[in-house]
Amino acid sequence: MTGSVDEFSLYVLDIVMNSVRAGASKIDVKLFEDGEYLTFTVTDNGCGMTKEQVEKLTDPFFTTRKTRAVGLGVPFLKMLSEQTGGSLAIQSISDEDSKTDHGTTLKAVFGRNHIDFLPMGNLPETLISLIQGSPEIDFTFYHRLSGGGEVRLSCAELKQVLGDQVSLADFEILSWIRGYLDEAYEEANL
């Protein structure tokens, strides 16, 4: 993003917000650290994009929004991936093309040890922001760290425990999720 954005977790937030705005009810976020690479995958069941929209997606002067004339999220992510020796690919099926199987998968690979790569930053805060903004969405999060440790979160599972009356966006629930994630990262980093 801009020079002031110095953590990868903000890119994660920005890119996952695209899935939120695509009207997805399920969003899977995966971070997989393997050797010198980090693979970031977001899969959603949102409205998807046409072939033409996907082709234009990495063009910063293409956007579907009405409030400003540029779309910057994906071009910034692509730039970061290419700068670090990785790549970015997007597959999408538009809801115009399929009523049942529409959605988008974005997969970006980064060189973790490259000098231009960023610190991971505060991933729990990114997840909390997403859940606070869209408690109705079933986010699934999986992060495999380089040392083999794993962090998982499934909003669908939490909702099964909580039932219909309690929202994931309630402060007490968000606090529990934050505590859970902080502890899971502590354990995964051991």
Partner: protein, 124 residues
């Protein structure tokens, strides 16, 4: 480790609270811009400062914190709008977590918008 039992205990506590909530819920709405422009300018800590601060100030029943996309004034991000029924919308610009705490205290709690943080002051 945070346990499911703990989560269930929170659920029980909250369900009993739901029935006690007064009718003021959502009287004030705080909307934080969370598009690329907002996130790049620092919207995430601003959002979290509002979420935590509103709860700490005991305003959860009165104030609802929500998110929106780009509202078209990217140069002023992070942008926060405060909606109150029967009053003009207040647009705060170039927000920080510290300014958010002040807005909670002086505007959301005290009822007095902070003019110097608004878009009107920024465009003078």
């Amino acid at each position: 480790m945070k346990s499911i039992e703990e989560l269930m205990a929170i659920k029980e506590k909250m369900q009993s609270k739901v029935s006690l909530r007064n009718s003021d819920a959502g009287e004030l709405r705080v909307v934080v811009g969370m598009a690329t422009c907002g996130i790049a300018a620092g919207a995430r800590p601003v959002l979290n400062a509002f979420v935590e601060g509103v709860n700490e100030a005991g305003l959860s029943d009165k104030v609802m914190v929500t998110q929106t996309g780009c509202i078209g004034i990217c140069q002023y991000e992070p942008v926060v709008e405060v909606y109150e029924e029967g009053k003009d919308k207040i647009t705060y610009v170039k927000m920080t977590a510290d300014k958010a705490k002040e807005v909670i205290e002086r505007h959301l709690k005290g009822g007095k918008p902070i003019a110097e943080y608004t878009i009107g002051a920024a465009t003078k």
